[in-house]
């Protein structure tokens, strides 16, 4: 299959591309990229000429051409934090439905967290996920292995073996590693395999029983609060441990002003730490749960206006280098339960782009800066070849209509998880085509 994308506005932070041009795809790989406006070409004239010649021949009719005038072309997004729920919770999501939701949302690489059943704490589970993804996945699935066996925080999982089987990072996400010594060991041991340790920062003793942000609203709604300090304490602990060990630390789902400040401080000190936030942490405040809407229940919880502002500043100054979705699909019945018993999480893959583009409208980020946080940066942190339109790389491309206005309607999600607090929101910017490893999907 040969595909030619013509006259789209191409943005690829990995090559510093921001201009109108064409991309030619053959055999599932990017063969050629040519940008007209600016002289940013990635290949020699000779090669370009060759392929041009070939295209002008008889085969031209076999080439599918996508007229991308008025559209924006990005590297397929990389989501370093999703829950695909398989194995074990197929009623919430499967690798098939989760990856379909991914490509619909513009993502072509997803890194799936290990809190499945069984937990991905063993190479056999990793192997299962890799096989399943190869058979049914619509995009690249890269598993994240558990730090500790069963995510119980007591014994290290076989990080090395799982890395060989395909795990690219390690995390007990969903749970923190409460034991500081265990976290220290994880950061130390992981250095041998050069893999990042992703920390879900939550002091469970402080957050115990909590279901939303602690503040006046938690008091007036009678919901137990989780103080921002429950996150900050662990962010700081892990920063100190990263400094102590020299391990690669990545802070998942930053939700509070204090955490942003701590990460900024750590970077200033030269500590190896990276951080991500999620669209809901810069789009919604704790007010979203006022009416006991469990679709807005998420962990860490939605915070305050002040936290949103701090997160935006953190995104702007590079303290937070990644926007991930923390896509956490749940069954509708589960979210219809008592608020304090409903599971936490937001189905995020299909709203991430629209919500994140608001940052560009608000002038928090430029479009290339935003795309960098959704492509290049997560790839760098995870040490993977993705999120680029480099010649020779997989044809993972998303073509977006920036002006397309739409209303979020969860019924239309490809994900099994319809749990979103953004239902009914008016957003702008939607993928119209996604190429995942060269395969074209039109929306």
């Amino acid at each position: 299959m040969k595909i030619l994308i013509t006259q789209g506005h191409i943005i690829d932070p990995s090559q510093g591309i921001d201009g109108t041009g064409d991309i030619y795809i053959e055999g599932g790989k990017i063969k050629e990229i040519r940008v007209r406006n600016r002289e940013q070409r990635t290949e020699g004239k000779e090669q370009r000429g060759k392929s041009k010649e070939r295209r002008s021949g008889e085969e031209a009719r076999e080439i599918q051409t996508i007229d991308a005038r008025g559209l924006t072309v990005f590297p397929g997004f990389v989501d370093m934090h999703v829950h695909l729920r398989e194995p074990g919770f197929e009623y919430k999501e499967t690798i098939r439905t989760g990856t379909l939701a991914a490509i619909k949302g513009g993502f072509t690489t997803v890194c799936c967290m290990p809190n499945t059943n069984p937990v991905n704490d063993h190479a056999s589970v990793t192997e299962f996920i890799m096989r399943k993804a190869a058979q049914e996945g619509y995009c690249a699935v890269l598993p994240i292995g558990a730090i500790t066996k069963g995510q119980k925080g007591r014994e290290l999982a076989e990080i090395g073996t799982m890395k060989h089987e395909g795990c690219i990072a390690f995390s007990d996400d969903g749970q923190p590693v409460m034991n500081s010594l265990m976290m220290r060991r994880a950061l130390e041991y992981s250095k041998a395999f050069n893999v990042p340790v992703i920390s879900h920062c939550e002091d469970l003793t402080l957050s115990e029983g909590g279901v939303m942000n602690e503040g006046l609203i938690s008091v007036t709604r009678g919901l137990r609060g989780i103080p921002a300090e429950a996150e900050m304490i662990m962010v700081f602990r892990d920063i100190l441990l990263a400094e102590l060990t020299g391990g690669k630390l990545h802070i998942a789902h930053v939700s509070t002003e204090g955490s942003v400040d701590l990460v900024r401080y750590a970077k200033k000190r030269g500590i190896q730490v990276t951080a991500e936030t999620c669209p809901h942490y810069f789009s919604l405040t704790e007010k979203a749960v006022e009416a006991y809407d469990a679709n807005a229940k998420v962990n860490p919880p939605l915070r305050t206006e002040r936290d949103i502002e701090a997160i935006k500043r953190g995104l702007q100054d590079g303290t937070i280098e990644v926007i991930a979705t923390d896509h956490a699909p749940h069954h509708a019945d589960e979210k219809l339960r008592e608020f304090d018993q409903a599971p936490s999480g937001i189905s995020g893959l299909e709203t991430a782009l629209g919500l994140s583009l608001r940052l560009v409208d608000e002038k928090v980020l430029t479009l290339p800066q935003l795309i960098e946080k959704m492509t290049l940066n997560p790839s760098k942190i995870m040490g993977i070849r993705a999120g680029t339109l480099n010649r020779g790389s997989d044809a993972d491309i998303v073509i977006v209509d920036r002006e397309k206005e739409y209303t979020v309607s969860p019924e239309q999600f490809a994900s099994k998880g319809k749990n979103t607090p953004f239902s009914g929101w008016e957003l702008r910017g939607l993928p119209v085509f996604t190429l995942s490893r060269g395969k074209l999907h039109e929306w």
């Binding site: 503040g215 006046l216 007036t220 709604r221 009678g222 919901l223 009416a291 006991y292 008592e338 018993q341």
Partner: protein, 306 residues
């Protein structure tokens, strides 16, 4: 006219609506004083007490209120062991509605359950206590009792002593008393009074003597023994020593101050017997007024027109 389908909390009511409920309760209070304590007002209607948390007092009070309005009453108790996971909440509620319930009185240990169900049900939902959120009819009966004793609530100094953080009774009372113009003081250890509550136009005292000085109404809350295990206070003895309602402390309040307790009391812990049984205590009147207030709520909700 209230024109509401449900009574979910005092938060959702205006001062006028609260006053309407109290005025209406006056009419029902008269009925309760007669030989024939029953009126035909809601005959043909069905009330279901859907209690996910055991409570004999509140359930009995609602049951009597419903019966004195001539509705048929069914008690539907659901044991909610988190281990035994049976029917979902919504299914249970829909089943109860399908039985023909016009009023569903809900008590649940999770905050927000009445709000969740009210959206799904045609029947009127009355919150009989949800988690640590609200217990609106208790606050209404307290306001009714205070008004009966003091003539008005406006301008009164009302002290609430105890576990404000975990008390739905305290929350509902704070909302209603502030709306009705009282000056509310909260008294208790800092571990049991959320710091954010100071933003709600209340005065917080950690020394009970300071808080009771010159108060018109003293309301003390039941202290839950299990709070001790969670480190909210070291022992019931120490709690009692610092925040128990004793004659010496009550003497600091106004001479005609009344003493209230939502029950059930832990005698000797948050209140000593001399006070509970003393002349200032209106604790048993609160119980009687509870029926009148609940009748008023049911009557007013029955006036809801879609």
């Amino acid at each position: 006219m209230l024109n509401k389908k449900d009574l979910l909390g005092i938060k959702e009511l205006s001062a006028e609506e609260i006053t309407l409920i109290l005025d209406t309760a006056g009419g029902f209070r008269d009925v309760l004083g007669r030989d024939i304590k029953k009126v035909p007002t809601l005959r043909g209607k069905t009330t279901v007490n859907l209690f996910f948390e055991p409570s004999t007092r509140t359930r009995t009070s609602f049951e009597l209120a419903a019966k004195r309005l001539s509705t048929d009453v069914i008690n539907f108790s659901v044991p909610t062991s988190s281990v035994v996971k049976g029917e979902s909440l919504i299914d249970t509620a829909l089943t109860v509605q399908a039985l023909g319930a016009d009023f569903i009185i809900i008590r649940h240990s999770s905050s927000g359950v009445p709000h969740l169900l009210a959206k799904k049900l045609r029947a009127s939902v009355i919150n009989a206590g949800d988690g640590i959120n609200e217990h609106p009819t208790q606050a209404l009966l307290d306001a009714f009792t205070i008004r009966e004793k003091k003539g008005t609530i406006k301008g009164l100094h009302i002290a609430i002593v105890g576990d404000i953080a975990h008390s739905r009774v305290a929350k509902s009372n704070i909302y209603s008393l502030i709306k009705l113009g009282a000056r509310v003081r909260l008294i208790g250890p800092p571990t049991l009074i959320p710091a954010e509550i100071a933003d709600m136009n209340v005065k917080v005292f950690h020394k009970i003597e300071e808080g009771l000085k010159g108060a018109d109404v003293l309301m003390t809350l039941r202290i839950q023994m299990e709070r001790q295990d969670k480190g909210f206070f070291p022992s019931t003895e120490e709690y009692s020593k610092n925040w128990g309602l004793t004659p010496d402390r009550v003497a600091l309040a106004k001479e005609d101050a009344i003493v209230m307790h939502p029950g059930p009391m832990n005698r000797g812990i948050e209140i000593v017997s001399e006070i509970a049984d003393g002349p200032r205590s209106v604790i048993l009147e609160q119980v009687t007024n509870g029926i009148a207030v609940r009748m008023a709520v049911m009557y007013l909700l029955s006036g809801y027109r879609r």
